[in-house]
């Protein structure tokens, strides 16, 4: 064929610059010394080291591969048989029906496919009273379902191109139908099958939306882990992972290119002699071709990786399993040479009780997210860590179990200030994990010190385009309500409307509605003013650019929150869950978690520990643990409380209004 023209070459190059630009970015930032995705502060391999020590991320990589492999293989086999069947359908009606059905998952947005499957699984699960209706199997079914059309639409055209007389000829020559299929049809459609397999594998690997809706107990894939880092931040660790994937694929392609050229020539020769009925030879050649082609090589390697993964899975499946459901990035996980809480707990448990336990640790992005999953009855968790107002709601709805404090002796270390708070006045259901206060972070190089006093800073037109606002309804409305002096838990709709007006007034000044994006934006100087949780301010300082001078203050009044460990009614190992909670309160893990998360700890083993105070520094300590006369009073006055369903719906509508502007 013709050689490419120069203009074509340039155009192709431009397209590839466009397609690979973000990949170049993530490769560069995977070598960043700081924990930032927007400010490059020096070369380091530390994120790669961390990646290999992070069992949670590696676990989700393993899950993603297992899911992608099993769903692509099953859908390829089923899809190929289906295509063969569809191709031979004589009934026109049946054929049209099959064509339309195959097209549905392609014509439907993935969000609808995801929701529809989720609704069905949850509904059916409820009827059968299953404790967990969303799990690995539901995700597998969902992935097979959306992969199937890709396979069929690849295989079917190959069948249609084939001369129907060929298999008949083979049968006339004495082949059984099955043999004729294997020897004649299969080799002919193999390229379609291979492409279908690759496409199915790729689609499954890249899918986020459908997995998001159908994922459940303890089986978390990589996209979901990443999405759940929404409250904290996406770390360069994920970039390191993507970089590794990139170079693995690239090197496979390069190796394959060398092998391929030689084999292709042989195949072309064989193609010429096709008519001479050397069917066996051709099959052989095709198989040889396949086994040396890059998709299969990639697939092959993935199979090996997954097989190892499955082996690990089987190996540990004999152990007792504890399902823990926590915020993303909300536990010391062994990164940056920190304490690997989960692994240490597993070891400690085995030493103490002589039994193997495996903690299945999964994450959520918001209280509401967690609530939706648990209230659907589709999942089963042993320990959850919701925030106060969500605890109150779950308690009211009978979704929490009272704790047996005999199993949690370390509860004695919880400070008096953090007992008897409104969401659990009788101290029966919860053990506080962290607490914090919402403050305002600003860049002193941009903002006048004189303006940095109270909530008005977030509405100051001087800084239009540099202000960030929460991208979740409760916290965003909170800023407006504290500013206006409205009770954040009011049932008065008129007051909420006033708050909405305030937010709408603010909208033109707001640069962005953010959750985790706040880190990049504040660190790089992209934005200058934001309200966020106190501890996160320190994470930002650590990675901020030289041109940025981040400062912090508490406006008054402001939100105080507590996140606490609870046991939901769907719990399967209550005693084990209590032992886990107790372990989290013991000195080493408690300090490690407080240092990792950077939020204040209600545990006196932590906040009275000299080493801990030294480690984080006096200044940090003063901000995280401001001197408050009566924490309980302040807390009970300004904390968020659960709203009635009617109010929640109303607030939700107002929030949508704010978002459309």
């Amino acid at each position: 064929m013709a050689k490419m023209k120069l203009s074509s070459k340039i155009y192709t190059a431009l397209i590839f610059v466009f397609l690979f630009a973000p990949i170049a970015i993530l490769i560069v930032f995977s070598f960043n010394a700081a924990k930032s995705l927007s400010v490059f502060s020096g070369f380091s391999l530390s994120w790669y080291r961390e990646l290999f020590h992070d069992s949670e991320t590696l676990g989700s990589v393993r899950n993603t591969l297992i899911l992608a492999l099993s769903s692509s293989i099953i859908s390829t086999v089923m899809g190929t048989f289906a295509a063969v069947g569809i191709n031979k359908l004589r009934s026109r009606w049946y054929r049209a029906a099959m064509d339309s059905v195959t097209n549905i998952p392609m014509m439907n947005p993935d969000i609808i496919t995801g929701i529809s499957l989720m609704l069905m699984f949850v509904f059916v699960g409820r009827i059968f009273g299953a404790s967990t209706s969303l799990n690995f199997w539901t995700m597998l079914i969902a992935h097979i379902t959306f992969c199937l059309p890709y396979v069929i639409l690849q295989v079917l055209p190959k069948l249609q191109q084939m001369d129907p007389a060929l298999p008949e000829a083979a049968m006339d020559l004495g082949c059984t139908p099955m043999r004729a299929f294997l020897k004649v049809e299969l080799p002919e459609i193999t390229p379609g099958i291979v492409t279908g397999l690759i496409m199915a594998f790729t689609m499954s690997l890249d899918d986020f939306v459908i997995s998001y809706f159908t994922s459940g107990n303890g089986f978390q894939t990589l996209p979901i882990s990443i999405y759940n880092m929404t409250k904290k931040t996406v770390t360069p660790k994920m970039y390191a992972l993507a970089t590794i994937i990139f170079f693995v694929i690239l090197s496979l392609l390069l190796i394959n290119n060398v092998v391929d050229t030689d084999d292709g020539r042989k195949l072309r020769k064989l193609r010429k002699s096709r008519k001479s009925a050397k069917l066996t030879a051709m099959t052989m050649a095709t198989f040889k071709k396949i086994t040396s082609s890059k998709p299969i090589m990639i697939g092959g390697i993935a199979v090996i990786v997954a097989a190892i993964g499955v082996l690990i899975g089987i190996n540990s499946s004999k152990a007792l399993v504890l399902n823990v459901y926590n915020w993303g990035e909300y536990i010391s996980d062994g990164s940056e040479d920190s304490f690997d809480t989960i692994k240490e707990f597993e070891n400690w448990y085995q030493e103490t009780y002589g039994r193997k336990v495996r903690v299945n640790y999964t994450t959520f992005a918001s209280n509401e997210d967690m609530y939706s999953k648990i209230s659907s009855g589709a999942v089963s968790y042993d320990v959850i860590v919701p925030s106060d107002y969500m605890i109150a709601r779950m308690k009211n709805e009978g979704m929490l179990l009272p704790l047996n404090f005999d199993n949690i002796p370390n509860y004695q270390y919880i400070g008096d200030d953090f007992r008897g708070l409104y969401y659990d006045e009788t101290n029966e259901y919860t053990v506080p994990y962290t607490y914090g206060i919402v403050g305002i972070i600003y860049d002193a190089n941009v903002v006048d010190e004189a303006d940095a006093e109270n909530w008005d800073l977030l509405w100051n037109p001087k800084y239009s385009g540099s202000i960030l606002q929460f991208n979740n309804s409760r916290d965003a409305f909170g800023t407006a309500m504290y500013k206006l002096g409205i009770d954040v838990n009011t049932d008065d709709k008129a007051e909420w409307n006033r708050a909405l007006d305030e937010l709408l007034k603010q909208r033109p000044l707001v640069k962005s509605y953010v959750m985790d994006e706040i880190y990049n934006m504040m660190e790089s100087g992209e934005a200058a003013i934001a309200a966020y949780y106190a501890g996160d301010y320190f994470t930002m300082i650590d990675a901020a650019a030289d041109t940025v001078d981040l400062q912090f203050y508490y406006p008054e009044p402001t939100n105080v929150f507590v996140d606490a460990m609870c046991i939901p009614t769907c719990c399967e190992h209550k005693e084990l869950a209590e032992i886990f909670i107790n372990y989290m309160l013991s000195e080493e893990p408690a300090i490690a978690n407080a240092e990792y998360i950077y939020y204040a700890s209600p545990n006196s083993l932590v906040y009275e520990n000299e080493d801990y105070i030294d480690d984080i520094g006096e200044d940090t300590y003063d901000i995280l643990y401001p001197e408050i006369e009566s924490f309980g009073e302040l807390y009970n006055e300004y904390a968020y409380r659960t709203l009635s369903n009617d109010m929640l719906d109303y607030v939700n509508r107002l929030w949508e209004n704010c978002k459309i502007g």
Binding site: A82, M98, I115, E526
Partner: protein, 296 residues
């Protein structure tokens, strides 16, 4: 003779059997779930029949402040739908304009180059799309890579992130391969002699493409349009990240109703979206099927 008809029967039984698992599967996991969407859309929390959810989509209103500060009432979800549709159409058109030439160029290259380019097109898909979108934030930010370049060249700055353009760039980036691949797969099968014939008959390069190549590639174009339009109309991550949270699209609406545990209203939005898309696609296919035979 008897033996022959016997074999034929066995063959057709075999083919029918090979289709059975898929028939059952698609009934259970494609059709039944859609019935559930309709069921949830038309019921309330206690599963009693209601049309309120559907009505809410068409009647809910919000206040919008215009640039000049005047406040007007709009239909919340109709506006959201319209915005989603607009952005999706813009993205699809751009994908087509950028993607068609590249598909053509690839299809005219040597087999080996074709294979390599196609594989390279697919590589980004192996790296999670959430991460790739995140990387775009770093590029497009006001203090990002593009502005860094412009600054170094003393060209001033441009503001992209948080604008419609940023959302469109994100969608085009993510879905461009879905446009290129189906068009390419049709063009690759195109007989080169057709082009030569067109040239011999007096067409110049461009008009040969317009009058011969393009009409023949229509099935690929249509399936490319479908594969880009559908996901871009319903995306919710790209708009959140690259639109600075200021573009609230139909996907965001469904997702936020789901997290707010309003499953029935989420189902209602999904149901309406589904109906609109299915009807739209059916109409499109009807009109184009008259001009092209078959499809992908």
């Amino acid at each position: 003779m008897k033996k022959r008809s016997n074999t034929q029967e066995r063959v057709s039984r075999m083919y029918r059997a090979s289709l059975t698992p898929y028939s059952i599967w698609s009934l259970l996991f494609i059709l039944v779930p859609l019935i559930f969407v309709a069921y949830y859309a038309f019921t309330d929390n206690s599963f009693a029949f209601t049309t309120e959810n559907i009505a809410r989509f068409f009647t809910a209103t919000s206040q919008v402040t215009a640039e000049d500060g005047s406040i007007s009432e709009i239909h919340t979800y109709l506006l959201i739908f319209w915005r989603s549709l607009k952005l999706a159409i813009i993205s699809t058109v751009i994908c087509l304009i950028i993607g068609y030439p590249i598909a053509y160029i690839i299809s005219r290259a040597s087999t080996k180059v074709q294979k390599n380019i196609i594989t390279f097109l697919m590589i980004p898909m192996w790296m999670n799309f959430l991460i790739r979108t995140y990387a775009w934030m770093t590029i497009l930010q006001d203090a990002g890579i593009i502005n860094g370049f412009l600054n170094a060249l003393h060209l001033g700055r441009i503001h992209i992130i948080g604008t419609e353009s940023a959302v469109v760039i994100g969608m085009v980036y993510d879905y461009l391969p879905y446009m290129i691949l189906p068009i390419y797969s049709i063009l690759a099968k195109l007989d080169n002699r057709l082009l030569e014939a067109a040239r011999d008959l007096g067409c110049n390069g461009f008009s040969a493409i317009r009058r011969v190549v393009f009409p023949l590639s229509l099935p690929g174009v249509i399936s490319g349009i479908t594969m880009v339009l559908i996901p871009s109309i319903s995306t919710f991550y790209i708009s959140q990240k690259l639109g600075n949270g200021k573009f609230y699209l139909i996907g965001d609406a469904i997702e936020s109703q789901y997290t707010a545990n309003n499953l029935h209203f989420a189902a209602a939005i999904a149901f309406i979206l589904m109906i609109i898309l299915l009807v739209g696609m059916a109409v499109m296919r009807h009109f184009t099927n008259k001009r092209v035979n078959g499809g992908i």
